[in-house]
């Protein structure tokens, strides 16, 4: 197994007719993922075609889900409309809404997250690279790639990766793959202050997943999500965990690219988080080049 998505997961794409959504829908199709529907209001009935795969486009998420059996949505719609797109997935009772969109207003996310309480849909992101469960083919072909991560850097295996940052995730995945270690699932939870799924949520899923044997958790300055996860790991996690925190050199009070990456209080700093990681038995990578090695120091594969 893997977590959240498997090779046969049926995926719809909201915003498939925009440049960004179309580009990544094509890459997912090339990777062998099951992209079964597109949603663009007003373009229902059209067809998105790539590499001989015909993807029907629907006006609503509910229609797309009902007619194609899609259970997961990748959201590529522009920021002013993204919270609405997320809530449309909730209304259709999808399993997962994965919001790639960067720049959604905080107020929109605060309302959307409140409206999701008690509903079955889980949100990943926003402002995230998405999820990859690598396939078993060459260069991990045949996996489930939802979002914008490069598929080919992956390899099917036993390490779960969770991160707020896209390119840092790729860095960790590539280090693992180059050293011969594959991944069960890689989850980008996004760099925004209000997101749907936390580090801890994903760690709990990895902890229960029989295929995942070890975990890499990548965090950054701002908020206390990594600290919350680390304290849970100390008490409950059965698997070895390596960690990295970006932003040791970031000045306080400045937003470092990600809207959530800003030092607001004492526990927000990289130094504070790293200290707590160590106290909780997490193997800390000294530099981003050291992420795979930090794991391999405590886990032999």
């Amino acid at each position: 197994m893997s977590i959240l998505v498997q090779e046969n997961t049926r995926v719809l794409v909201q915003g498939i007719t925009g440049d960004f959504g179309a580009r990544h829908a094509r890459l997912s199709i090339e990777y062998g993922s099951q992209i079964v529907a597109g949603v663009t209001p007003g373009k229902g009935g059209q067809v998105f075609e790539h590499n001989g795969v015909k993807v029907p486009i629907f006006n609503t998420v509910a229609d797309a889900a009902k007619q194609t059996g899609a259970t997961v949505s990748a959201i590529f719609v522009p920021p002013p409309f993204a919270a609405d797109a997320i809530l449309e997935c909730v209304d259709a009772d999808l399993d997962l809404a994965i919001a790639i969109t960067e720049g959604i207003p905080v107020r929109d996310m605060v309302r959307a997250k409140r409206a999701m309480q008690g509903r079955r849909t889980r949100l990943i992101g926003p402002n995230c690279p998405g999820i990859v469960t690598p396939g078993r083919g060459e260069k991990s072909h045949g996996g489930c790639r939802i979002g914008i991560a490069p598929g080919y850097i992956h390899k099917r295996g036993k390490v779960g990766v969770v991160s707020r940052s896209g390119t840092l995730t790729y860095e960790a995945v590539w280090q693992l793959t180059c050293k011969g270690h594959g991944q069960s699932t890689c989850v980008g939870i996004g760099g925004d202050p209000v997101n749907g799924t936390s580090h801890l949520d994903v760690i709990k899923l990895f902890n229960e997943d029989p295929e995942t044997e070890a975990i890499i958790m990548i965090g950054e300055i701002g908020g206390n999500a990594e600290v919350e996860a680390a304290r849970w790991i100390k008490e409950h996690c059965k698997k070895p965990v390596a960690g990295f925190i970006a932003g040791a050199t970031a000045p306080a009070g400045r937003r470092m690219g990600h809207a959530g990456a800003v030092i607001g209080g004492a526990e927000d700093t990289a130094a504070a988080k790293i200290k707590i990681f160590k106290e909780c038995g997490i193997s800390v990578a000294a530099t981003p080049s050291d992420m795979a090695d930090a794991l391999l120091r405590i886990w032999k594969g």
Partner: protein, 403 residues
């Protein structure tokens, strides 16, 4: 986005939140007219307007002490304003270079009420996002006029918080809870409930990142008054608030950061000497970290984004080289989807265009990386290649330290 105190108080007034009457001026010729518009009987506060805290304890580079001054009369107010306007104020939050004061705010001095123990009757109130619950939180304290972080550390029991459910908004009982927690009764209790309700409305309507009043004051006349006001906004929501965008003061922002934003680049200047150019915010932050780890000092944060183009790379080089402290450049690109060769071509063009003489280390990884490395090698330029982030960081630190 941040705004000035006087702009924040104009917003407060629109929402019916009382502040001391004031007038903002940008030229000394306006002093007299401005002072004629307010009641100066109790004296005047002269307040430097910059986007940084700690103004009262700041010092001007001309030696003048204090960016906020009480002045007993108009003559003294003009004297103080003259010492401030056009000069550079250094505070704990501005960094050593300070900020040039381009606006002066004259306000009526308030008649501070006193508590039984003789202290000024000052409170603290703020509304912001609570990241742990993803809900707005109102933070109130009886300890105003001091650093709230200090209060939270020394006397956490004096901090009172109310979470607002975004589905229904702030409820009257919650506003009452705050007024009770601050110890108000009678007429002041009613004023406090109204004030909290109106400030929350402002916070929600205008997509504020934070609304902070410190101090919130009770006057001798028994009025609740926002003596200071700090308001910032969620950048992601500015598209729906043209009235707020109009308040932006570009003088308060770093010219290079403004230039970078035109090209979709995220740039933040730091005080080191090794510039970096990276794709992705997390990787950009950790590139700064690894430079420091190997004994160097990063000159900036620069994220060219996930789909960087040749034009962006070229613009990024020019912005980096605008910083005279820069003694070397580290480019770190993990081209997952984007073509490393496009980036390499952009780097070569930018180096030729800018006539770069500084050491340059490039670490490329990902899609079409071999072609990218070949382009760099064939350029005839002195570009050092780094295989991993660690390798690249060590090389640039060594090259810069040799000079």
């Amino acid at each position: 986005m941040n705004i000035h105190e006087y702009q924040a108080k104009e917003l407060f007034e629109k929402y019916g939140v009382a502040t001391p009457k004031g007038v903002a001026v940008k030229a000394s010729a306006e002093y007299s007219t401005a002072l004629g518009q307010i009641n100066t009987a109790n004296g005047i506060m002269v307040k430097s307007q910059i986007h940084a805290g700690g103004r009262g304890k700041g010092t001007f580079t001309n030696g003048f002490k204090g960016g906020v001054k009480f002045s007993p009369n108009k003559e003294k107010a003009i004297e103080n304003a003259t010492a401030m306007l056009g000069n550079t104020l250094v505070t704990a939050q501005t960094g050593p270079e300070g900020r040039k004061v381009q606006t002066i705010y004259f306000t009526e001095a308030a008649n501070l009420g006193k508590r039984p123990d003789g202290r000024d009757d000052e409170y603290y109130l703020a509304i912001l996002l609570d990241r742990a619950t993803s809900r707005p939180v109102i933070v109130a304290s009886t300890e105003g006029g001091v650093e709230i972080e200090q209060v939270a550390h020394d006397t956490p029991e004096k901090i009172f918080k109310v979470q607002v459910d975004p589905a229904v908004g702030l409820q009257p009982f919650q506003a009452r809870q705050i007024a009770f927690a601050l110890g108000f009764s009678g007429e002041l209790f009613k004023q406090c409930v109204t004030l909290v309700t109106r400030l929350y409305q402002l916070y929600w309507d205008k997509d504020c990142a934070m609304v902070e009043v410190n101090p919130l004051l009770v006057t001798k006349e028994g009025q609740l008054l926002a003596l200071d006001a700090k308001v910032s906004f969620d950048d992601n929501a500015l598209f729906r608030h043209p009235d707020i965008v109009a308040l932006r003061d570009l003088n308060e922002e770093d010219a290079k950061e403004i230039e970078a934003s035109k090209y979709g680049l995220s740039y933040i200047a730091l005080d080191g000497n090794i510039a970096c150019l990276v794709n992705g915010a997390g990787l950009a932050m950790s590139t700064m970290d690894i430079i420091q780890h190997f004994g160097g000092s990063p000159a900036n944060f620069l994220d060219v984004g996930g789909g960087a183009t040749k034009d962006q790379v070229s613009a990024a080089f020019k912005i980096i080289l605008g910083d005279k402290n820069v003694k070397g450049i580290l480019v770190n690109i993990f081209g997952g989807i984007m073509d490393c060769n496009v980036i390499a071509t952009g780097i070569v063009e930018a180096v030729k265009e800018t006539g770069l003489k500084l050491p340059l280390v490039v670490r490329l990884e990902g899609n079409n990386v071999q072609a990218g490395k070949a382009t760099l090698a064939a350029s005839g330029l002195t570009i050092v290649s780094g295989d991993t982030m660690a390798d690249a960081a060590q090389k640039i630190v060594k090259l810069v330290n040799q000079k």
